[in-house]
């Protein structure tokens, strides 16, 4: 049972930035060297603490972007009025240090033993923990069937697009673009609605396991639609981003 995994105190440890990779104009993946990392499961998150020269410190939580067994990476979206995300996405460079503790959260996680079929539904940067799940599924050779529906404002704002497209051999990956679609766009357009779910969601009779992550109104809507499609509430796992 996943609930027994985290016991004992989570200790802050010093992390060194290994690489930074720009995913989109506003989103960056930061890979970290963490010598004493205890390992994590796809879908978990961690805490970041930054300390300024004057001793001021700020803490934030971020989803882990990497799969089980991989070095820790986080993917951060810049919020222009934020204090931490502009630093992480613009100023940070390899060799810089920060403090990390984790992994945290044993609910919004998936491993091959959890089964499926998997329905992953992402809004914007909510794709981060779902990418970790898909990546873990791929790396572990799991044959659990999986579908990802990813809602993004535009194609340019899709995070991990190249990697997600590579999963198309074994998983169904579909995008819906809510604000702007390129000419000839063959994917979905507009916000996730019941008609879209009718085409992508596994029938409830297959006992699917759903993970939804994104902004609160997005998660509220999608979770409600899945329950209306008779998904059991206990198999609809959600993670919501507030506006904070």
């Amino acid at each position: 049972m996943a609930g027994t995994a985290v016991r004992g105190r989570l200790i802050w440890q010093v992390a060194t930035v290994a690489t930074v990779t720009d995913e989109t104009d506003a989103v960056r993946t930061i890979a970290l060297d963490l010598p004493d990392w205890p390992g994590h499961h796809a879908g978990q998150h961690l805490d970041v603490r930054l300390t300024a020269e004057d001793g001021y410190s700020a803490e934030r939580s971020y989803s882990i972007a990497s799969a089980d067994g991989e070095p820790v990476a986080i993917t951060v979206e810049r919020l222009d009025d934020g204090e931490v995300s502009p630093y992480l996405t613009q100023e940070l460079r390899p060799g810089d240090q920060m403090e990390i503790r984790g992994p945290i959260g044993n609910w919004f996680t998936w491993g091959p033993h959890d089964g499926g079929p998997l329905l992953l539904i992402a809004g914007g940067s909510g794709v981060v923990p779902l990418r970790a799940i898909l990546r873990h599924r791929q790396r572990s050779g799991s044959n659990v069937r999986a579908r990802l529906l990813y809602s993004s404002r535009s194609l340019e704002e899709v995070i991990y697009r190249k990697e997600l497209d590579e999963y198309r051999g074994s998983a169904q990956v579909r995008y819906t673009l809510t604000r702007r679609q390129p000419p000839g766009w063959g994917g979905f357009a507009g916000r996730v609605d019941d008609a879209m779910l009718a085409r992508i969601a596994w029938p409830a009779s297959q006992r699917p396991l759903a993970f939804i992550c994104g902004p609160t109104p997005f998660v509220e809507t999608v979770a409600g639609l899945l329950v209306a499609r008779h998904y059991p509430e206990s198999r609809v796992k959600t993670e919501r981003f507030g506006g904070a």
């Binding site: 105190r9 803490e59 934030r60 240090q97 403090e99 959260g105 509430e233 507030g242």
Partner: protein
Amino acid sequence: MTSPVSRGFHRLSRPGDAQAGKLPPGQHVTTDFPVLSAGPTPHTPLQEWSFSIRRGGKTLRTWTWAEFMDLPAETVTVDIHCVTRWSKLGTVWRGVPVPVLLDQVAHDARYVLAFSDGGYTTNLPVKDVTGGQAWLAFDYDGQPLPPEHGGPARLLVPHLYFWKSAKWVRGMELLDHDQPGFWENYGYNNYGDPWREQRYAGD
């Protein structure tokens, strides 16, 4: 251990800084009202809603929504602190003090396990839900509490991290011995005092 300096990181002057003394360690002020929950939002019609106090699997007392509305309520202004690090200051709620409910059953329980629609539970010492520290809240900011924030009624226990303020609450199980609830079983702290930064198991 001394924290290493994160090169180039500086404090920004932000709205809410003036209230910094009201912030527990590691928290920052938000003016939004973020939502955190593990699954879909339940929508229980008021005519089907009830609140029960149970012990050992037996229901000791149940209130319908109409009966609950007849109980004495009060308006409180409190600061709330989410374990995900946002705090919201000066929030205004209306609710029934938890002792108004608990005092209607004779008991010597030391702990309660609050239970909610959707299967969510959270555990609290009785001493933390009495003495003007906890309410069963049904209004937020002068309006009926919206479902995504836990309506029709949620616990409000503002001196602990906000996951203890169970949304969609439908009752309390009285216990002699402490029993971890949902998040407490998934790695979060058993008690959750924000001023001692008890976020996770072992903090």
